[in-house]
Symmetry: C2
Subunit: 230 residues, 2 copies
DNA sequence: AATCTGCGGGCTGGATCCAATAACACGGCG
DNA sequence: CGCCGTGTTATTGGATCCAGCCCGCAGATT
């Protein structure tokens, strides 16, 4: 079970280098909660697990560090980054700001194809919701948001927003199970897409802001609660 | 002249790892224009120049790639990233958005010490301006802006803004020599600091927005002109 | 009994070595 | 004369090897 986890060398189109593939896999495992905040990642162990040398692991670490998912100290190795409530708050404010702009710019540019793509993702998202498949829901959630922003044609901004989303996503996943915002968010997604179809920028952006703020508030509350009993 | 460039092993407090130091040095050289867009960076050559093996260079590349300063392709190496005018435009709009928010949050939090620090940097900046020391002016320019945003206590946002600034800075430097916006920007810096001292958020933010927009427009125009005759 | 110290294991950081790939040039062929 | 195929070379990607640093443990000294 442990060897080759998630790398699926079989259908590898070799579209990406090994360090990138490793980074993807490790990122997913961090988001899944398999590696918890504070836990240290040992190069040797991971190298053996993925059946490669330590070098690709090291390069993958650099990537994850740049994304803020791990922190490394010289001669002390890498640990999964923790996220204080304060930081989560800031990241959610960033999301409100940046994603509002993206959506506002995107809506006038949306083609029917774009809308259909979003619809497709939303269907998958609803399916994952019904099946309570948290991990799949988490990644599709971002995929849905992303699909709405792509028509804005703001690749740099989108990349930054993606980074922010990935950074907070693992906490979102942990918290989804016990949160009623989960259900609300699910409904809001559908409404959001409808506003986009209607080209109602005002309503769509307002809903998006509320959507992100609710998620942020809920997450911050959860983080603060956790930090108290810890 | 070429060996050990900028690493200054002498006073090294070893506060940072070798790859980080390399990344810093390479970043500076890219910003200086020593490595031009499209130019390819060869691991072996740099390794020899810095008198180390290729491995630290490789790790430094990962960092620079994450910052968007270079792009790497598998088995094809690293080249300095180009920046189409369109991309510059987007990054400047990002700056306007994010830096406005930062300044607005920062001003109410500024202490006298903060203001003195900014004043100090501004003095250095003015000195660099008089001496027409472009590289120093470039790095101090960001340092000044940064000093104004620090009191906002938004470390994540600040890190992102720093990344954006570094990405556009090398074009700014190239263009400063021939641009009259250079002089205007210099004066605006002083005015900006005075507005901050007066706690005049409205005026400060408005000026900052104009300041960044002017710089952006000027840069975009210059990039478009360049792309035409190329 | 507690703390300081010296030693050893485990891990990271860096160097070197080998394999794989892509650009390039030369030569053969149409 | 031009185009395509092949071989060579330069350069990257990955593996292995070696040195150096943390940290924990044990023993000694106060």
């Amino acid at each position: 079970m442990k060897s080759g986890m998630g790398l699926t060398k079989s259908h590898s189109l070799k579209r990406q280098s090994l360090p990138e593939a490793l980074a993807d896999s490790l990122r997913e495992r961090i988001l899944n909660g398999e590696f918890k905040p504070g836990e240290s990642l040992v190069q040797e162990a991971l190298a053996e697990e993925y059946e490669c040398s330590r070098m690709p692991v090291r390069e993958a670490f650099r990537q994850l560090e740049a994304a803020g998912l791990i922190v490394t100290k010289v001669h002390k190795g890498a640990v999964v980054a923790a996220m204080p409530a304060e930081q989560a708050q800031e990241l959610y404010e960033l999301r409100v700001n940046l994603e509002s702009v993206l959506l506002e710019l995107a809506i006038p540019n949306m083609t029917d194809v774009d809308l259909d793509t979003s619809e497709q993702v939303l269907r998958e998202l609803e399916k994952a919701y019904e099946q309570r498949d948290i991990n799949r829901w988490g990644s599709l959630n971002w995929e849905f948001h992303r699909s709405l922003y792509v028509p804005a044609n703001r690749t740099q901004t989108l990349a930054i927003v993606q980074g922010v989303n990935l950074q907070v996503e693992r906490y979102v996943r942990l918290q989804l199970l016990i949160s009623e915002t989960f259900e609300a968010a699910q409904k809001e997604h559908r409404a959001l897409l409808e506003y986009c179809r209607a080209r109602n920028v005002e309503a769509a952006v307002a809903l998006l802001k509320q959507h992100i703020r609710d998620a942020g508030d809920s997450l911050v509350a959860s983080l603060e609660a956790r930090s108290v009993d810890a």
